[in-house]
């Protein structure tokens, strides 16, 4: 079990890195879906005492939502706005990858100073969650298309979820449900925003929003 959780966490980081280097929008969504599935499996493996029966329901919910529902919505949005590639990132793909690697290092440094809650099987959980949060943030900052921003936001939320997981044994429902709800709302809001940007500015590039500043 311990190896499994380590493996899953490593895979999650790897997927985030892959996202930073990928230019295809459909590909991005599919990778986020995969990451979501990994996250769904994690609560079953992460704690030393095994898992709550409740965690089973949570895992199933996560798996379905992050693995299937949200990607479906995003793929639908991609079909609607007829856009395939992020061609004009503000930070190129190779520099993004290097930055991502640097951020992973930073998150390990930070997590060394953070107190780790007892009972976790993997010491990787906190650094991985921080790295995921930072890479999601990086994606939101460095990409221009509204859709890649949504993907970045999802990665960011995944990181927060991972962080919450570390105390999920003590306070199960509360945090995770909050996170799920957040994501759900965010995707719908962003979906609406994308449609409106496309309609009002004839493009889904957030660059066009600068015309709203003074």
């Amino acid at each position: 079990m311990e190896q499994l959780s380590q493996l899953l966490l490593a895979f999650i980081v790897f997927l985030s890195l892959y996202l930073l280097g990928s230019s295809s929008l459909t590909g991005c969504v599919k990778i986020v879906a995969l990451q979501g599935m990994c996250l769904g499996l994690l609560p079953l493996t992460i704690h030393e005492q095994g898992f709550h029966p409740r965690a089973l329901a949570l895992a199933a919910g996560m798996f379905l939502l992050k693995g299937f529902v949200i990607p479906r919505v995003l793929l639908y949005a991609i079909r609607e706005v007829k856009i395939r590639r992020e061609v004009e990132p503000m930070i190129g793909y190779t520099p993004s990858l290097l930055l991502g690697a640097f951020l992973i290092g930073v998150s390990f440094v930070i997590s060394e100073r953070l107190p780790v809650p007892a009972g976790l099987r993997s010491s990787l959980l906190i650094p991985v969650s921080l790295a995921t949060i930072m890479m999601g943030m990086l994606m939101m900052i460095s990409r221009i298309k509204a859709l890649t921003q949504v993907v970045g936001y999802l990665v960011f939320e995944n990181g927060i979820y991972l962080f919450g997981l570390s105390i999920s044994y003590e306070i199960p429902w509360l945090i995770e449900m909050g996170v799920l709800l957040d994501v759900f709302v965010a995707v719908f809001v962003m979906g609406i925003v994308i449609n409106h940007i496309a309609r009002a500015f004839d493009s889904i590039s957030t660059e066009k929003l600068t015309s709203l500043s003074d």
């Binding site: 503000m90 930072m134 939101m140 957030t206 600068t210 709203l212 500043s213």
Partner: protein, 658 residues
């Protein structure tokens, strides 16, 4: 105390109801009138009970906000201002219903009702607040409600500009007040007003800081020169009943704040009181000089508010001088002059703003030179306006005189001496201000109500509905009533002033006996004037009975075809006085005189912009703009940049805290 809470709640509930009932005009109107009546009755009863010597226990409730206590209290100082808030609020509110109905959709009903009720409620709460946070909450609510009223007709660009200017000014004031209360709170260890009063005096440097912060914070609201810049823009922009409430009461909340602080923190130094007096006199002279040359009658009234605030501030400064020189009688006289003039100003200024609203609706313009000859067409309105205008000039048989009488009697007292040579100077300045006020208001009244109509709209003007005339008549009656029988108003003012000057009740009532006797004589003379006028009127009627009375055209100076344009204009009336002060006023004239034997074209245009707003402020803001160009580069309008700022901030905090 529950009466005050009931009044505030009634107004608040009615405000939200009136916002919900937008579709049902009649229901909303009933709600507003009902709430104002209830609040006026409840609050008025409480205020009168307190003013006539009853002690009302404070209301203290815990509050969710940390450091804050919902602490309401009422003393004579609060009570006198509460009385003014509710009196003007009710009159202007009732009038406002008629005004909204008569505007045929020009005044948006829902925001006008909502913000007006919120404004009155917040002011009633403000005077009762005994906790700095509660005070700030009420203060900000009041400021924002007034902003809502100012930008009611936001379709017009000049209204939006005025609204923005007001919002900026009021926030500068609020920031100063926040700093002030933070300073006092740190010293006292609590944000309760009682705690401020209980601790020993601050060190000198902090006292100066407190004084300056209070002067700017409250002065911004009251409109001391040069902090008045928003006043003459905001008052014309708001609907008339709202300007009445704002000019009659809201700006005086700034003075309430100053007096409340004085009551809490005790006397200020002699130098500071001299500064207050000088500032007050400057404000008064500035206000009335600019009032004199305005053509927009609501702007004229706004400048006249600045003048009156100046007079009140002068009186308050005289009171402070009394405190500083440890002469309680002088202090009491000064403060009661300030408070009495505040009450009077609230009454006649709101009356004048209400009549300005009537004229504006009838003529469709705020330009005095579009009016003319209204006396024949709207006799009631003009009669009431005449009373208000005479009162605001401080002419004897009316209430404006009573407050100024107290101030003059301070200045002319033999024991005011102590080497205070400037008392004579101050008296002279006040007299000049009074004389200019006569010029300004005789111009305003004469051009609007006398002569021939200058526009088609003025020709067809009519008196408004009784819902609008009624409140005006009530205010005018008060003007006359206080003029003839000043004792009750004087009693209220002296009771409130006793609060500020820390005098015992017996000492206060002894002074009241003395001055009310003197003022009673003044009132009697005033009554004599009225009786005499009435007798002459009756006598005239008797003389003219059974005689034919004819009326002919005015003597036309020998012109064969006189037109209405040949009458005096506002500029030509004020020019002899204004010319003397051209350098101060900065009037810009554009003259194209008729040239040659057969002049084809000639024109004359004059404009007097506000110097603080249009000459002094741009110099300051240009400097500021230079400084701010650096941080402005941070604002690019790009989502990604903002996300970067947020994450950089968060990561920094995280690294720093670990």
């Amino acid at each position: 105390m529950s009466l005050l809470l009931a009044a505030v709640l009634a107004l608040g509930i009615a405000a939200s109801l009136s916002a919900v009932l937008t579709r049902y005009g009649q229901a909303a109107r009933t709600t507003v009138i009902g709430a104002l009546t209830v609040a006026g009755a409840a609050g008025g009863l409480l205020a009168l009970r307190v003013l006539w010597g009853q002690d009302v226990p404070d209301l203290v409730r815990p509050w969710l906000i940390p450091g804050a206590v919902f602490h309401l209290g009422i003393d004579p100082l609060s009570a006198s201002f509460l009385l003014l808030v509710l009196l003007v609020g009710c009159c202007a509110g009732l009038y406002g219903e008629g005004y909204i109905a008569a505007s045929h959709g020009h005044v948006p009903a829902a925001p006008a009702r909502f913000f007006f009720l919120v404004l009155v409620a917040s002011m009633a709460l403000l005077v009762g607040a005994r906790n700095a946070l509660l005070f700030m909450v009420a203060w900000e609510t009041m400021a924002l409600a007034a902003f809502g009223l100012v930008s009611c007709e936001h379709g017009k660009p000049e209204v939006r500009k005025a609204g923005l200017l007001y919002l900026l000014c009021t926030h500068v004031g609020s920031l100063c007040l926040l700093a002030l209360f933070a300073l006092l709170g740190r010293n006292a260890g609590s944000l309760e007003f009682d705690a401020f009063a209980a601790v020993p005096a601050l060190p000198a440097a902090q006292r100066t800081a407190v004084f300056l912060l209070a002067l700017i914070g409250f002065g911004m609201k009251a409109g001391f020169v040069p902090l008045h810049i928003w006043l003459q823009e905001a008052h014309p922009a708001a609907p008339s009943h709202a300007s009445a409430a704002m000019s009659g009461v809201m700006i005086e909340m700034g003075l309430y704040g100053l007096l409340r602080l004085l009551a809490l923190l005790g006397p200020i130094s002699m130098k500071a009181s001299m500064l207050l007096i000088a500032l007050g006199l400057t404000t008064a002279v500035f206000g009335i000089m600019f009032a004199m040359v305005q053509r927009d009658f609501k702007r004229l009234l706004a400048y006249s508010s600045i003048e009156n605030i100046g007079i009140i501030l002068t009186a308050a400064g005289l009171g402070c001088y009394g405190l500083a020189s440890a002469s309680p009688t002088l202090a009491l006289l000064g403060f009661s002059g300030a408070i009495l003039h505040t009450l009077n100003h609230g009454i006649f200024k709101s009356l004048l703003f209400l009549s300005a609203g009537v004229v504006y609706q009838a003529v469709g313009s705020r330009n005095i030179e579009a009016c003319g000859g209204l006396q024949k067409r709207m006799p009631w309105t003009c009669a009431l306006t005449a009373i208000g205008a005479a009162a605001i000039c401080g002419l004897p048989p009316l209430n404006g005189f009573t407050g100024e009488w107290l101030i003059y009697s301070w200045l002319l007292r033999p024991d005011a001496g102590h080497g205070i040579r400037f008392a004579a100077l101050a008296a002279a300045v006040l007299a000049i201000v009074g004389a200019f006020a006569v010029v300004a208001f005789s111009k305003c009244y004469g051009l609007a109500c006398l002569g021939q109509p200058r526009s088609e709209a003025a020709r067809g003007a009519k008196d408004p509905s009784w819902l609008m005339l009624g409140p005006m008549a009530l205010l005018a009656t008060l003007c006359i009533g206080i003029g003839i029988f000043p004792a009750p108003a004087l009693h209220a003012a002296i009771a409130a002033a006793g609060n500020v000057s820390h005098l015992s009740r017996p000492a206060v009532s002894a002074s009241f006996e003395e001055w009310s006797r003197l003022l009673g004589v003044v009132g009697l003379i005033g009554a004599g004037v009225w009786v005499m006028t009435a007798l002459l009127w009756v006598y005239r009627g008797l003389l003219l009975r059974r005689r034919e009375v004819g009326s002919g055209p005015t003597w036309g100076c020998g012109f064969t075809a006189p037109t209405a344009r040949m009458q005096y204009t506002g500029s030509s009336y004020a020019v002899p006085t204004a010319r003397v002060f051209t350098a101060l006023l900065g009037t810009r004239e554009e003259v194209h005189p008729p040239l040659g034997y057969w002049p084809a074209k000639a024109s004359f245009e004059s404009r007097t912009p506000d110097p603080a707003l249009e000459r002094w402020l741009p110099v300051l803001t240009a400097r500021f703009n230079d400084w701010l160009s650096l941080p402005r580069q941070l604002q690019r309008g790009r989502l990604q940049n903002y996300l970067l700022y947020v994450s950089a901030f968060l990561v920094t905090i995280l690294l720093w805290k670990l």
